[in-house]
Amino acid sequence: MSKQVKQLDRVIIRFAGDSGDGMQLTGDRFTQESAAFGNDLVTLPNFPAEIRAPQGTIPGVSSFQVHFADHDILTPGDAPDVLVAMNPAALKANLADLPKGATIIVDTHDFSKRNLDKAGYAENPLDAIGDTAGPLADYAVHTLDLTGMTVEAVKEFGLSRKDAARAKNMFALGLLSWMYGRPTDTTEAFLARRFAKIPAIRDANITAFKAGWNFGETTETFVVRYEVKPAAMSPGTYRNITGNLALAWGLVAGGVQSGLPVFLGTYPITPASDILHELSKHKGFGVTTFQAEDEIAGIGAAIGASFGGALGVTSTSGPGVALKSESIGLAVMTELPLVVVDVQRGGPSTGLPTKTEQADLLQAMFGRNGEAPVPVVAPQSPGDCFDAAVEATRIAVTYRTPVFLLSDGYLANGSEPWRIPEVAELPVIDPAFATADADQPYINDDGEFEPYRRDPETLARPWAPPGVAGLEHRIGGLEKADITGNISYDPANHDFMVRTRQAKIDRIAESLPPLQVDDPSGQAKVLVIGWGSTYGPIGAACRRVRRAGFDVAQVHLRHLNPFPKDLGEILQRYDKVLVPEMNLGQLSLLLRGKYLVDALGYNQVNGMPIKAAELAEAIGHLVAEAEGIPADQLDLSVATSQEVHQ
């Protein structure tokens, strides 16, 4: 039968199932297909901290949301248009996030009494389909025995029933791929590669995937296919990339562009471990990865490697940063290059290991004893983690300082299409190792090396790894005398050195480009300022506000310490400044302290990215206040609904 094809400008699909159901893989494959098709996309994986929480329970539900569109999009979407639920718990856990009218595709196979009990359903919600008072009344529900059809489709391969049923995620993927006209060759090639060593499993997965597609084609359950055309993107070669992968590659690039061997000293921690996994594959680039006995040894070894002339890197999350604080202070005092990657997660303490948060900003800024300034750099999207890592390397090497690179769980695991940069466009970073040439400014008239004689432009001290005769010197955590680097307890020297270390970090601002303020009309009275992964939701929210006919300006900070030189002047230009953050107002505090500006917070700490629609409401109210528009004339719903279905 011929199917009707309906055009959509964007769709949000959430795949949800038990943590053992392969939902992350399913979502990832759908994403790769959409990327290959040419849509713009943003993803949001969401999974429990437990590797295998009790099967069939709400805490065990794992989901993957993908938002794909025919235009430039910034967020994984607030609410799914389509939910694929593989069991009762997945249905129950996600139902509240669905807007009215959403489509639900349910695998009915696991809706047994036992599984309904585990999910906390007293009655089977599927029995009440069609009942206008039932829990599913507001949705278009398709009930299918995905598992049963999968087992039937793969029976020729002689797998156990359990193994056969495990291919159900590929059946679901095949069905959704048909429904949205996704290209299938990349997934077939992927499955052939992934299960190359187990032919029966390989063939079963590929067969299930094709069977899902064919089911969509032939069944009368689905009468409509949807088309989301490729997005117009600027010319270039693209790939889909997660933040952790981009960050790891950015560190490889930092090594290549500086000519330094990268040394990662680290301890496994969620959600940063993938950086270790990725870098461990790049020994051919001279990358050493050291899995230490603890967080402290990880950074200690990185500092030792930096002393030896390598690019020392340590990667962790918030709890690990707490353990590394003293060592970061040592790197501040010894003025050695070091990149400290903090993939932030929900805190405090162990907190929410697999959820996202931005609450380590003040820890990065101030979480050390003494006056210990450390530059802070933050990426704004998964792909941007690459450039941010190169920038952190540039600052660390040029200014001989530890640098914080603040990613977060959403950036780490989320993905987006990334325009692959030309390597020739990347900055070249000069390590400028010290030499024993007598005419060097840090060699005094007696021919002695002065390890704390600074470069007048950057205030950086010479970096003199062991192995050069004539540059033998000792560094350490005790206060250093200016120029000689000898131990000094002199009060005036300490005061001078504290100020000088701060001045060196402040000096980095001289090397930063001017901020890009997005203020299309030039008439905005409200400025929304953010940092890190809130870039997407803030940008999407500002677009909604503008589409509703209001003016708003946006600026996003890559550098949190030091702030760019023009930030103060930009803040002064606007009547109101709003700071959306996934914390209780950490950037707000810094902006208020430094610029005496009445920065207002929009704060959310629920472990999830900020929702653009909710933020748009908040921005709208502030705009109305600033413009003197009565609140009842504020209607952003037009903009919102237009965006969903054009």
């Binding site: 990327a35 290959a36 040419g38 010319p235 270039g236 070669t237 693209y238 790939r239 889909n240 590659w249 690039a253 290549v256 562009q257 040394f263 000293g265 790049h282 020994k283 051919g284 001279g286 050493t288 050291f290 230490a292 006995e293 603890d294 402290i296 040894a297 990880g298 200690g300 070894a301 990185a302 500092i303 030792g304 490697a305 930096s306 002393f307 030896g308 390598a310 003293e326 060592s327 202070g329 040592l330 010894t334 690459f386 692959i420 940069p421 390597v423 020739a424 062991p466 192995g467 050069v468 005769a469 004539g470 540059l471 033998e472 010197h473 000792r474 560094i475 350490g476 955590g477 131990i487």
Partner: protein
């Protein structure tokens, strides 16, 4: 006929470190920095510093390729007084810093200077993992059995019951035996020596430097201010023959007043419990005495010998090299993996790093928008 045993060939601990040019010589003075030494008068650290400064020229290494890394404590000031490269780091962390340095740089001779508090309290984790990994470095553990820099609290090697500023009724802590700990942590070179016996100290340093892997040298070191006399029994000419159990590879372990054969009248034999015990040689016969085998792969006997150390006041202690066995080192293995990966890159037709970076980020599933 020769038999290929396929045994790994082990290298010296200083192999790969640049040596002096032919005809070049160094003296202890070359290793003295211009910094004033500021330990208390009579501190055992002076003797160790002199011994190290006197010994380093014997290695024949280029001074700029020697690095001393220390933690926090009296002994950790050591690097400032040596005109080599050095880092006076933070409390307990020197082994981790040295691990990164030694792994990143094969051409350096890396030394760690630490104390009983630094290495065994706050830095205990790093110490045992350095030993386990067998990173090529020499750790000098100055054991004065007291906290000196914080002015006299008991340390993890202080005897139980010790009265100090923080334990007016006596410490209720049981002490570590650093040698037992190192052996239990898979140490491949474990030795003990004494600050005041320069000849023995120097010979142990030489063996430690020659060993490829983590060498742990416990140095009994007197603190004249807070724990004076802690080692008197093994230092006093009147008592030391009975207090020191000398360990020399291939020699029977005998000590005490000389017997008729000129060797000590007491010696070690295996005990019924599976350990070792002290006996009168005359009672068991000289042939029954245990011959020290530092190269024995099984550390059981070395551990048993280490247990003869007094945990209270030190009236008896085995001194010498307990264990010296060969095992591949972490840093060599890590560098070998890098070399293998680089070899594969070269075999594939080595492109410039920038070209390989472009291939990395541009590989896999990509699409082009024109």
């Amino acid at each position: 006929m020769t038999i290929e045993l396929n045994m790994p060939t082990f290298r010296s601990g200083i192999e790969g470190v640049p040596t002096l040019e032919e005809g070049q010589t160094q003296t202890g003075k070359d290793f003295s920095s211009d910094q004033e030494v500021r330990w208390c008068p009579g501190c055992g650290d002076y003797a160790v510093l002199k011994a190290v400064q006197g010994f380093l020229p014997d290695l024949g290494l280029r001074r700029e390729n020697i690095v001393f890394v220390s933690g926090i404590g009296c002994s950790s000031r050591f690097p400032y007084y040596l005109d080599t490269y050095g880092m006076h780091s933070i409390h307990g962390r020197a082994p981790s810093i040295a691990t990164g340095l030694a792994t990143a740089r094969e051409d350096l001779s890396v030394w760690v200077v630490t104390g009983d508090g630094d290495a065994l309290s706050i830095g205990g984790n790093h110490l045992i993992h350095a030993l386990r990994r067998n990173v090529n470095m020499t750790i000098l553990l100055f054991n004065n059995r007291i906290y000196g820099l914080t002015k006299g609290q008991y340390s993890p090697t202080s005897e139980s019951g010790k009265i100090t500023k923080s334990t007016p009724m006596g410490s209720v802590d049981h002490p570590f035996n650093p040698v037992s700990l190192a052996l239990g942590a898979e140490g491949t070179f474990v030795a003990r020596t004494i600050d005041s016996d320069r000849k023995h100290l120097t010979s142990v340093l030489a063996a430690a430097a020659a060993h490829r892997g983590t060498s742990l040298v416990e140095i009994y070191q007197n603190c004249p201010i807070f724990n004076d006399g802690a080692f008197d029994a093994i230092k006093s000419p009147d008592t030391k023959a009975d207090a020191i159990i000398p360990l020399e590879h291939g020699r029977p372990i005998r000590f005490g007043a000389p017997a008729e054969d000129g060797l000590g009248s007491r010696g070690l034999v295996r005990s019924a419990s599976g350990g070792v015990e002290v006996v009168d040689v005359a009672e068991v016969g000289a042939e029954a005495i245990l011959v020290h085998d530092a190269h024995q792969p099984d550390p059981t006997t070395a551990f048993a010998i280490s247990r003869l150390t007094d945990s209270g006041y030190l009236n008896q202690s085995p001194i010498g090299i307990f264990r010296q066995v060969e095992r591949s080192t972490y840093d060599d293995e890590a560098r070998a993996q890098l070399a293998t990966a680089r070899g594969a890159v070269e075999e594939a037709g080595a492109a410039a790093p920038t070209e390989r970076l472009a291939a990395l980020i541009g590989g896999g599933d990509t699409w082009t928008v024109v």
